[in-house]
Each structure stands twice: as C-alpha cells, then as structure tokens.
Subunit: 289 residues, 2 copies
DNA sequence: GATTTCGATTTCCAAAGGTTATGGATATAA
DNA sequence: TTATATCCATAACCTTTGGAAATCGAAATC
C-alpha cells in the first residue's frame, strides 16, 4: 500500500469523482482507476460503488475514510518533524569539556549559545580530555571541547580552534628565576611537575622536552593544571603552563629552541550525523576564536 | 512513500541491522538498502548513521521512529476495520494465555472455536499473565486469556469470565492437616510457597493474607501453579491454590474470615478494533462460563 | 437520437523494485 | 598480523508496477 494510493482514495472520496481526483492530482484518470483498483484488491473490499456514471462510497470506503485521514496526518506530521530538524536548534546536547578549556576558553561561546538557543537542553560535563574523546567515540557525548589528542583516530573528527602555547615556568622566588638565559640541562636538575600519565598535555610537554627526557626528575603529578600552577608557585618544581594561568607568582623561562604548543578544539564522531544544536555550538565556538 | 518502506525502517531500527531486517521481511539485504535510501531521499534526511559495520539511528531516524509506529498502527487499524465489515471469521489470531488458564479453562472454548472456524490461523502462545497483558498493550497479541490484573490500565479492556477461588492447602500428611479449625497465626509458622514476585496471583494471595503478612515465611517461589501444588504436596510448605488443582494429596484448610478469589478472563486492547476471529473466540469463551 | 460525460480497458513505455554478484570496511578468530 | 566472516553499498540485470494515450461502453443530458 502506498501513501499515494491513500491520497488518491481521499481525493476521490472528497471530490466524488475519479476524473476530478485525476485533475487534482495532475495525473490521468486511468491512473486513478488503477490505484483505486489496487487498493481494493489489497484490502479485499470494494471502496466505491460505481452507480452508473457516478460513484458512491461503499461500506469499506466509509470505514477507510477517517483512517486514511489519520494515516495521512501521521505522514504529514512525520515529514514536518523531520523538516523541523533541519531548521530548529533544539533538543538535548551532551557536551564534554576538560577542566581547563571549560574554564578558560569555553565560557564566551557557551554564554552566547545559551542566550541564542534557549530550546537546547545543554548537558555539560567536565572530565579530562581523554575521557571526553572516549565518550564521543562511544556515542555518549555529542561533542567534546578539549585538548586535541595527538595520534590520529579515524573514528574521531578533530577541529583545532585554539593554539595554546605553553611556557616553561618556575616560581618567582626560584633560584633559576633570575637567569636571563637558561639551558635545558640546568632546568633538568630540578623536579618537573607534570599532568598525570595518559594526559595529552603531558605527552606534548614530554615530547618537547625530548632532549633531556632521560634526565627529567618527575616530582609530582596531578590531573589539574590549576593545581600544577599552585605547586610550581610555591616552589615545588617547574612545569609548562598556558598563558592564561601565568601570573606574578610565576616566572616564565625562555629556552633556546624549545617551544611547546598544544591544540585545543572540538572533537566529534566522524561517522555520526551532528544535531543542529551540535553544529550551532561548534559555530559559536569558532566565532570566539 | 510506501507503507513497506516504513515497515522496513521500523524493522531496521528495531533489529539494528539491515541484514536482520532483510531476513525478517523475507527479502534480500540490497532491497533493504534501497528502501532505506529511497526513504532518506524522500525525507531529505539521513535516517541511519552507518558507523563502520554497524548502524545507529540518526536524529531524523529518532524523530521518525514514533511516527512510523503511529502510521503503521493506523494502517493496521484500517485493515482490521475493513476486515471486520465482512462476516467471515478467518485470518490470523494471536492469542496469549497463562499456563494455568490455558490448561484448565481454555480447552473447551478452544476446541469449539477450532471446529467452528477452520479458516482462522490460531497462534496460541503460553506465557505468564503479566507478559500477555503487556503483549496485548504493545499490539503483539490480539487478546489474552489470563488472570486479570488488579490495577486499572486505561489501554486495556478487561472482561471477567471466571471467578477462581483459591483455597489454602497443606499436604495431606502435614501436621496441620488434622486440625478442624485453624487460626492464621498457626499457619504462618510454616513456610508459604508463592508465585514469583510480580505475578498477579501472588499479589492477590498476599493481599488476602494481610493480617499476618509481616510474619510470613516465604519458602519457595515458582512461576507455575502446578509446581506449587507439587511442592505443597510433598510437604515443603503451604499455599493457596484453585480448586482445579486440589486432589487427594492436599488438604484444604478453612480459615475464619479469609477468602481468596482471583478473576480469570479476557484482556484486549482498549483502542483497537477486534477482528471477527477475536470477537468469535471471546464469544466462545463466554459460552463456556 | 445525438452528444457529452464518466469510468473501464488496452497498449505502450518509463520507472521502480527486486535479485544476484561483487566490493570495501570492519569486527572477530587464528 | 593475517585470515575470515560479517555487514552495508553498488552495479548489472530483469520483472513488475504505474502512468499516458487512445478507445470503448454505459448513462445522463440536450
């Protein structure tokens, strides 16, 4: 049974004539005859009584009429709902973000998006970047705004939004803070404070420090950059931190030939269709770049 | 858009696989691919995300799913109404019944119906009463002949056919079997054997035993009254059973002020048109009352 | 009785919808 | 890792369906 058949039935029933239904549907009258005949065959009942040169609804037709309307209403509603998906920015949006990105990069985009799209139910979850990427891969999050992972993963689509340069820092009161120029070796004599193993930022920092990696003394590990900043500022060691975290308690140390940059951005599933809400918030994030 | 396309969509969404949907519909997998592709083209939206070798509902698919069900329900209702106009009693009839009712109450009606209406393809399924009611609600069964549920459910139409009084029984050799008159407290010292949690009969029995409910020792649980009878008759505890199951191995114990009655009958969907076959078998069941 | 109007029927063609065979991607097993 | 199996997409092919055009027969209308 085709939806067109039901529409045809309705047109015939309402116009009381095969010919007029044909005009209305912009097809020929024999086509109408065929469609009705097919419907009658499928339902095993006569829908119209052909009385001479006019027609009349048969009992089965009377029974079908309201049902046909119901069914066609349902089809229309389905089409409308799907069409609305391409217009409306609404519905649930599960967004994961790392602590640092969520606190220092995301707020403007979030604020703008929240005002512009009140019909989105935003489910914002803080977690570390790696967990967020994994959740996106599993379909548990619509998108993640995090430190972009280094390796390539075919299941994830990554879009860099911000470069986030990291500076090597020591406490303002640290012995090395006075030095104008410093060699890496000198730093390596003091303990480094690093993100926990597995964290992308840790990998990036260690890769940049490759020349002295063997000599590094790892002092403390934490999963939270703010904590690293605090630990460095009270003199427990040195580290690499983004500009946004550096203040008077810290001294930036320039080292020849060493530059550390991590990339922050959006991670989505490569094969899943983005909801409008997800696309919209990505657009908002790009706009704050 | 064809009704078959929607059915295909539903089959794919429910089975989570094009291949399984193909098996279910008795057509080849490429045909399913084509149908879904045609639907997607017509609706202008992707319905499934093909993630590697598996698929997942895309946003438009999520929106379509409930609508597709509504539409297909409408089509089914239309066919049923038209079929009901004809007098002949034929076609498929899916009947669910509980073990006990199916074995002890239904056979005469079934036999008569089967002889009188050979053109009905009867699909008789044994299951517990609660599952049968649920299946009726979902449209997976045309009717259920079961222990009537206690709570009211607007989606179900219930018709009591039989009162089924339950008697408290112990084994013939049980210490309490000798007593002429018994108080409930005395019984409560021995373990009771009950239907599994969730079963309506269990609720009815427990409600009737409310005065001593706190003190009841629940010995064993099973989903099958015949089994309860066996367990009671070998002396593992007492229980409440319908007359039909009581024989010389059991002794009925009368207790002042306690009477337990469950209702057996027919459950149908409140909003669906009954097929002629369904109406006929209900009539046959009433006749055996 | 001629004419008009309407639905049914026939013939023809294009499109739709199915099957088989095959390919690419990806889980699963060895 | 390699082999294998599984799953969806695609291509080629064929049958069936569905529409147009032409025509027919019956019944209102003039």
């Amino acid at each position: 049974m085709d939806i067109n058949d039901l529409q045809t039935f309705l047109a015939v029933a309402e116009s009381g004539s095969f010919s007029r239904a044909a005009e209305r549907a912009f097809i020929t009258q024999p086509a109408i005859s065929k469609r009705i005949a097919a419907l009658e065959a499928e339902l095993g009942a006569r829908l119209f009584d052909r009385v001479g040169r006019r027609i009349q609804l048969a009992p089965a037709g009377i029974a079908l009429l309201p049902q046909a309307r119901t069914i066609l209403d349902g089809v229309g509603e389905a089409k409308r709902r799907i069409a609305a998906l391409s217009r409306d920015i609404a519905g649930p949006l599960r967004l994961g973000t790392s602590y640092h990105v969520g606190l220092h990069r995301l707020p403007p985009a979030l604020r703008q998006f929240y005002i512009a799209h009140p019909n989105v139910q935003l489910d914002l979850r803080f977690m570390d970047s790696e967990a967020a990427c994994h959740a996106v891969e599993q379909g548990d999050l619509d998108l993640a705004v995090v430190t972009l992972p280094r390796g390539s993963n075919a299941r994830l689509r990554r879009e860099k939004v911000w470069d986030d340069p990291l500076e090597i820092v020591v406490a303002a009161a640290h012995p090395l803070a006075a030095a104008r120029r410093l060699r890496l070796q000198a730093l390596a004599e003091y303990p480094i404070i690093l993100p926990v193993p597995g964290a992308t930022t840790r990998e990036i920092v260690l890769a940049a420090l490759a020349p002295v990696r063997r000599n590094l003394r790892i002092g403390l590990e934490t999963n939270y950059l703010e904590l690293i900043k605090m630990l460095v500022s009270i003199g427990l060691g040195w580290s690499a931190l983004p500009h946004t975290l550096i203040d008077g308690d810290l001294k930036v140390v320039q080292i020849e030939g060493i530059s550390i940059v991590r990339e922050l951005g959006v991670v989505t599933h490569a094969a899943r269709t983005l909801s409008n809400a997800a696309s919209a918030i990505i657009e908002a994030i790009r706009a704050t770049k």
